[in-house]
Point group: C3
Chain length 470, copies 3
């Protein structure tokens, strides 16, 4: 007999009954607040075309790198999961077979956030009442597949049902933003904005960098051969993104290094990186552009986000066969105090700048990030990111940052996902864990209950809107 799916109303709340009661009361005040999703990777084409999602596996499994990595780690080949290979070699093409394979390995996710998110999608989004496993796989597949064919599961209907007030996607300056234009032209009331992610024209180690820069400058009517032209092209595209609703930029760099070079040095560096950069020049160029972006953010008001510290595509064989974003990215140690020095010397005392820092290196929470954000007016702390977007990750974040940076130097929650159906589940985990943390402070008489209610709302809603200027 299948086991019932248990989405317990008290999930993630502290076991101690007194503390749990406080957490429940706090959560009741924020559970139904609209979702502000200021940073993520949903596809704007979904909302532009409002076409139905094709099938359960293509929607929920094949594009989810959290799912792929866990199955792969236990010997499940990516091809058997329907992940398309670059060499065109055969992979599983039956979504039901992919789904069954996933279901038969679902126990691997015990104790992980993927399990919590997925259970929510099954139970709350699709109304499934049994636990997913090999036996219930087909039943679940059929329920989901049928639902996806209905109007209620079209992207816009889900957007509205999920209570999303605003969602940001992420595009590069090489993107036409046509989907965002189509959304606005459609008259649909959903607010979908873009974010300016210039990595392909900022990172000289991107394949095709020089061509990217040439297109980037040409489309802006600027001279790509000179650094001034390159900067002007950024200004042009930033304005274009602002017009498409963007309130933020995003920067995914190997490190947090920043630089503040003279004009002459910038010009010479720019020429070198266009001609083919050394590793050190590439690093220095990325570092300089972060400072340039901060300067432009002060001009145009766009909030800046920095996501450093990942060794991308650590598994080279997998990269070659299946491409990027298949679960082979691994965090590395990441230093911020010296790295951010040049940018902070230039702009750190300017309250008009908001630079939101993320990390995968939790060591820096209490040592570097909380002290920096608890001092510089320009800095804020982003929520726990990626591997740390999880109950324990959130607990560590609050435990290690609150005492030095407080709550008001943090910016609420980001779901940072392309897994659209899991977005409410992710915000719900964050709201529950923040209420749990606040409830503990109340239970230990470190915070008043009224204050905790204010804070619960701030963490769930207000801070994200304010920090991202949404």
């Amino acid at each position: 007999m299948p086991r019932p799916l248990d989405l317990h109303p008290d999930r993630l709340f502290p076991a101690d009954p007194g503390t749990r009661a406080i957490a429940r009361a706090l959560y009741a005040g924020v559970r139904a607040l609209p979702i502000v999703s200021p940073h993520g990777h949903t596809d704007p084409a979904w909302f532009a075309t409002n076409a139905p999602f094709s099938d359960p596996a293509s929607l929920l499994i094949i594009p989810d790198h959290y799912v792929l990595r866990m199955l792969y780690s236990q010997g499940v080949p990516l091809g058997a999961l329907g992940v398309r290979s670059r060499d065109g070699s055969a992979v599983e093409s039956d979504p039901r077979a992919v789904w069954r394979l996933f279901a038969s390995h679902y126990h691997l996710f015990r104790g992980t956030p993927s399990r919590m998110w997925f259970d929510w999608v099954l139970g709350e989004a699709f109304g499934i009442t049994v636990q997913l496993d090999a036996e219930t796989a087909d039943h679940c597949y059929e329920v989901i597949d049928a639902a996806l064919k209905t109007e209620a599961f079209r992207p816009r209907a889900l957007f509205e049902r999920f209570g999303i007030e605003v969602i940001a996607t992420t595009e590069s300056p090489l993107d036409s933003l046509e989907h965002h234009a189509a959304i606005r032209a459609s008259g649909w009331s959903g607010r979908v904005v873009t974010a300016y992610r210039p990595d392909p024209v900022v990172d000289p180690e991107t394949p095709g960098f020089a061509e990217n820069v040439a297109r980037f400058a040409a489309s802006a009517g600027e001279d790509a051969t000179r650094y001034a032209g390159y900067l002007a092209a950024h200004r042009f595209h930033r304005a274009r993104f602002r017009a498409a609703g963007a309130t933020s930029t995003d920067h995914g760099h190997p490190t947090a290094r920043t630089a503040d070079l003279s004009s002459e040095d910038c010009e010479a560096l720019y020429r070198r990186v266009l001609a083919g950069a050394s590793a050190e020049d590439a690093e220095l160029f990325r570092a300089q552009i972060l400072t340039e972006m901060a300067t432009m953010s002060i001009e145009d008001g766009m909030v800046m986000q920095l996501h450093p510290g990942v060794h991308r595509s650590h598994n080279r064989a997998l990269l070659e066969r299946f491409g990027r974003d298949k679960g082979g990215d691994i965090p590395v140690s990441c230093e911020y105090v010296a790295a951010l020095g040049a940018l902070l010397d230039r702009h750190g005392n300017n309250p008009d700048l908001t630079l939101i820092l993320f990390t995968l290196d939790e060591d820096v929470y209490s040592r570097e990030l909380a002290p920096l954000a608890g001092h510089y007016p320009a800095l804020r702390l982003g929520p726990p990111w990626w591997f740390h977007d999880s109950p324990e990750g959130m607990r560590r974040f609050r435990e290690r940052t609150t005492e030095t940076a407080g709550f008001y130097n943090t910016v609420g929650f980001n779901d940072d996902t392309r897994a659209f159906l899991s977005i409410p589940a992710r915000h719900d985990v964050a709201r529950r864990m923040d209420c749990t943390w606040l409830a503990q402070l109340v239970a230990e008489h470190r915070l008043g209950e009224e204050e905790a209610h204010d804070l619960a709302r701030a963490l769930a809603y207000d801070l994200a809107k304010a920090a991202y200027r949404l």
Copy 2:
């Protein structure tokens, strides 16, 4: 209506009722023990002159870098807080205006130790019964201002009321120690001792280093041009400090590096640093002097403290305008195992030396510091320091060090503060958090209740007296 100030008798105790009861019982046994404050930064002039403190803002806000940094991080200019600028530009001079600005931002401190300390000062030191906010600001100001004009709030009266058995201040060898002499000459029974902090004559990167060394040697009657004279001057001043009650030295270095060079190399290095040191020579000189200080500590019995790992005055613009200690110091990663090698090779096995290690890099608690202190007879672990002098910081310290270093290789609590009125609050937080940790061990049957009572007393009182030889 103003909200009542809640200094709950169970604050910081665990929420679980059984564990809380144990914590309460442990705390009852240590709550009223005298305060031993073996490391801090109060001004000996207070106790020498016993003059009244001037006003609430000058006493409680303007000199508190924890307070300044949080307000500054949220866009409050330091000038508006009455912090004097070096260029003499206008700053707020009305203490009541400073106080109101602080009160209207008091919510920023939710969840921080500053909030706990400050609430204690309001409620316990001044008998205020309402929470501080914009509305109650004037009331609180008036209560405090009136109290400060009374005899009961003179420094010596507070010292006695706070139950301070002994307090150490910190002076450089360039200090005359006149205030300590005045205290002793006054016949007052309060025990205020100094500590030998030679950084200005040890760190070649200190502005005016060569002049400092010249004065330092001259006042000792030694030849500043030779290394032997320099060392003899240390011996002279250490003896002078011992005579003023000092039982410890303190060393605030960028890193924990130590060295043990030959006499010839020392002599040559000394000449180079006097002439203007390179960064590497400066580092090497500091490293060598740590080992020399250890040698002298074995001779004269002074306990040695090492506080490494801070990037001082990271915010250069702020340093230029307002000077040091305004909240712009940021911790950095700090290695101990290799760094301490030279000193430990020389003196680590000598139980006559006590070297107390502090850190702002919590990563090293379980990896480096607990293993080192759980092995070398000369090493002890200082309590959680500065940013980590907080409930969560204390919890992490015990969780990560106890299993390897035990309790008896730690040295009790240091308040490390110049915020005199908060001293009892800081010791109280430490006593509560240690009782909470012990109660959890008892509740989980990892420690007997009788043993926990012994340990609670040791952590609150005995270990500090013993380790600092007070």
Copy 3:
């Protein structure tokens, strides 16, 4: 009056009554499972000869580096503890005197795992009912001494009484494995296997390295002057170890660095290290051999273990006087992501390889190890090791790895000890702490109770058997 020894049945379980009840139920299902000890340092001679242990101090104190380090850190000389010096200078030779000295310092172990293990040995192994201290020292000594003279305390009887299903010892390829042969020849049913630890012929910085390699190759009938002969000798000895039951290899390296050099570079490097290696060549050789060992593991099926990141014998004076393993080993920061690159590029996607990673640098749990093991099919995470084989260490391990690597990329518990009598206590602590962690997940509705029972068994028994192929 002596205090009663308290081995509370609920020890280590959470204080919250509801969560404790869940933990108790989970533990009831795994408490009595057989012990699988896949990695440790017991002496096979014990089981081969089955000779009685000599006396309480020689069995329980003198060889225990956890005990020695704590006593030494508080000023107890190793000689007074009966540790033999290399220079033959006099040390305490009366085991009762050693025991009394230990007993009078037993309070130093409060809050440490040594205390928990030792209490178990006193209470459960020897039936002692009083706490050990200076007063009860003689009583405890006599009870233990008398027991050790009985048949019931011979090694094989204890092995059976402890419910050990299989235990692995660790030998170098220079070992004859005669004790393992004798065990098998004896007809005794206990399963004692060896593990292949080739450090003395892999680490060019081992004293006598070239001689070791010469013996190693000669005993295999291979040409020690060529790299191919050296590798063939590994294959020979690995087969010899397999025949003695080995299912695993173990590698204790300063770092996790791996390399994958060309044949020519290997040959040249091999010649250089035989002639006397530079530090960099030694590191590169160790790195290359890790990859060679992985290749051979794929051939012969032996599971590979890597234990990096210790500064061995940090205390040089102690090393000179008393030799290795006296408590002077100190962990250092250890990087895995870049270091393992070469090996993982070569073999990381091969599910036939199992490489079990250990660390003493807990920072890498969430940042590096869980992401790596949650992706590469060849990787698994070893349990918390050495200083972290403790309740808090186990808690941190699960809190920081589960959400990214899940449970099934971990391998159950290793006791890693030569302290034979403490083995059941160590496994019991691990079982209790895993049940505590699972109970918390159940209480917070992050895991079903039925699933938790499956996992409790997996963590206590199944995963170790499977991962180590036992």
